[in-house]
Symmetry: C2
Subunit: 317 residues, 2 copies
C-alpha cells in the first residue's frame, strides 16, 4: 500500500467534516429489509456532492477572484455548487454538457448559479473552462483536486456510527468510492468496501480488474450521474489500495432498485444513486448483516420516475 498523503489522514478528514454546514452532515441512516440505506439522496441539494463543494468553498472563499469559482459537471456537482454558492455568498458557474438532463440544468439556475452549456466532448468542455479562466474565474478540477476527495470522505465519517461490515458505493470517476473507503478503513480496516457501476459505463470496473487506468469508448446507461468514460487518476490509485471489489449492474436491476425504493423505502433516488442497491438486490453482492448501501443522489426528473412507476405496474398486470 502506498504511503498515505497528509491531506488524506483521518484527522484532516475529521477537520473537514467539522467545517461543513450542520444541515449537510448526518444523512438519515435507515434499515429496510435488513439492508442499511445511507440516504444522501435526502441531502439539501439531493446528492452527496454538496459536501465536497462546501469544503472547497470553505477553504477558498477568503481568496477567490471577483468572478468566483467554476467547475464542469454533468449535473449533481453543478447543483451542489449552486447551493453552496448561495450559502456562502460566492458567484459560481457550472459548465454543463448539452447532454446534461435539462431538469438538472434548471436546478442549477433555480439556486442562482450561472450555467455555461458546452458540447458533449471533453475537448469542448476544456475549451469552455479555458474561456472562463480568461474571464477571471477560478476553476476547480474535481478529477484532480484532492480536496474534493476530502469533502467526499466526510460521508464515510458520517456512516461510521452504523458500524458497517460491508459498504456499497456507486462509482463514476470513483471519487466517492475511494474517499468513503479512505475514511471508513482508517477507522476500521476490516470494513469491506465495494464499488458499483452500470455495465454500460464500467470504466472503473475495467480499470480495477486490469490494474491500470482504462478508458471505455462508449457509454450507454440511464444512470446519468455515472457516465464517466474513465476513472479519475487519483481516485483510481486510491481505489487500488483501499477498495475491495468492483461489480457491474444491468439497467434492469437499476430500474428495479429505483421503483423498490419508492415502494418500500418511500425514497426518491435517481438511477445512478440506486446502483449500489441494484447490486445487492440482483445478487451481485451477497446479502450479509451489516451491509450499508450509499444512495448517493435523488435528482431524478419527476416525469421519468412517473414513467418507470407506470411501466412497472403495466408489467405486473
Amino acid at each position: 500500500m502506498s504511503q498515505l498523503p497528509d491531506w488524506a489522514a483521518l484527522s484532516a478528514l475529521e477537520l473537514a467534516r467539522k467545517g461543513l454546514p450542520a444541515m449537510v452532515t448526518c444523512p438519515p441512516l435507515r434499515t429496510v429489509d435488513d439492508l442499511g440505506l445511507v440516504c444522501e439522496s435526502l441531502q439539501v441539494t439531493g446528492s452527496y456532492k454538496v459536501r465536497a463543494v462546501c469544503h472547497l468553498l470553505n477553504q477558498r472563499r477568503s481568496r477567490l477572484p471577483p468572478g468566483g469559482i467554476a467547475l464542469a459537471s454533468s449535473g449533481n456537482f453543478a447543483v451542489a455548487l449552486a447551493w453552496a454558492g448561495r450559502h456562502y455568498g460566492v458567484p459560481v458557474t457550472a459548465v454543463m454538457m448539452r447532454r446534461s438532463h435539462p431538469w438538472k440544468v434548471e436546478r442549477v439556475r433555480a439556486w442562482g448559479g450561472r450555467v455555461v452549456l458546452c458540447g458533449d466532448s471533453t475537448e469542448e468542455r476544456t475549451a469552455s473552462l479555458q474561456a472562463l479562466t480568461e474571464q477571471g474565474v477560478q476553476i476547480v478540477d474535481h478529477l484532480t483536486d484532492p480536496q474534493v476527495l476530502v469533502g467526499h470522505a466526510t460521508l464515510g465519517l458520517d456512516m461510521a456510527c452504523a458500524r458497517p461490515r460491508t459498504v456499497v458505493v456507486p462509482a463514476s470517476t470513483g471519487g466517492l468510492l475511494a474517499a468513503t473507503a479512505l475514511a471508513l478503513k482508517q477507522i476500521d480496516p476490516s470494513v469491506r468496501v465495494v464499488g458499483v457501476q452500470p455495465a454500460g459505463a464500467n470504466a472503473m470496473v475495467e480499470s480495477f480488474r486490469k490494474g491500470h487506468l482504462t478508458r471505455v469508448d462508449e457509454v450507454a446507461t440511464e444512470c446519468d450521474a455515472l457516465t464517466a468514460n474513465r476513472p479519475g487518476e487519483l481516485p483510481f490509485q486510491l481505489a487500488l489500495d483501499w477498495v475491495d471489489d468492483m461489480v457491474e449492474v444491468s439497467e434492469e436491476a437499476v430500474r428495479e432498485a429505483v421503483t423498490y425504493l419508492v415502494e418500500e423505502a418511500k425514497l426518491v433516488v435517481e438511477p445512478g444513486g440506486a446502483a449500489g442497491l441494484a447490486a445487492c438486490r440482483s445478487g451481485q453482492i451477497p446479502h450479509q448483516d451489516g451491509t450499508w448501501v450509499v444512495l448517493s443522489g435523488g435528482n431524478l426528473a419527476p416525469a421519468r420516475l412517473g414513467h418507470w412507476l407506470m411501466e412497472k405496474q403495466t408489467l405486473a398486470r
Copy 2:
C-alpha cells in the same frame, strides 16, 4: 381547560417513548424551502401508526389471549399492527373495509398479519370485530383507547428538539393531532398547533368550528388515510383544549404537495400524509419561521404516484 388525566401527563408520554423500539423513534427532521418536514413517512411501516401499535403491544403482550389482538383500520394502522405483531411475536388481525386500497391490504399480509375484509359501513365493521371477539381475539378500539393517543404523542416528543413555533398535522379522527398538541404544549405552551383535513372529509374541522362533535354524511377525497366521517370523541375533546386551529385543503393542493415532495424533498408521501404541507403551500397556513409539518405517512401505491407525476408533466407542457 379540562383537568389533564394521568395517562396524558408528560411523564407518562415520555415513559411510553422510552418503551418504543429504537427504530420507531426519531424520524428524520428536514428543512426544504425554509419549511420543516417531520418525515414519519420514513417510519418502518411507512406511517406514524406504528408508534401507537408498539406502545399497545408493549403494554398488553404479557397478558394477551392466544388469538392475539385485532383492530379495524382503513390501512396504515393495519400495516403497523402487522409489523408490530411480527416484531413482538404476537398474532394480529386487521379488519379492513373492502374500500381499503388493495396495496395496503397486501402490505398487511406481507408483514404476516391476518386480514378480515368487511363491508364499507361502520355496522359491518362492528359485526366483524364482534365475530373476532367470539373467536377469543382481543379487540383494540383505537377511537376510544387513550393509550393509542399516548403512542401517537411520542411523535410530539420526537419533534420537540426542533423547537417548533407552529406545528401542522393532518387529521382524520384527530388522534395524531390531539396527541401531538398534548405532548408539545406540555413542553412549551406557546407552540401553535394546527390541524388539516381535506375539504371533502372535514368532520373534525366542522366539529371544531361548531364546538360539538359533528358527523359528515359524505366523504370524498383521494386522501385514503383521512376518510373518517366523524372525529374520535376523546381526540375531539382534547383538540378543543389543545389545538389552536383547523383548516381545509383542496384535492388539487394535496396533489401538488405530493408531487412537490417527490421533486424537491425526494420523499414519497401519500396524499393524506401531505395534507399539512398542502395547507402551507396553498397559503391556508401563512409562511413563518419555525413551522414544522408532519408528513404522517408514505404508503402510496406506486402506480398512483406514477400517474400523478406523469399528469403533472403533461400539464406543464
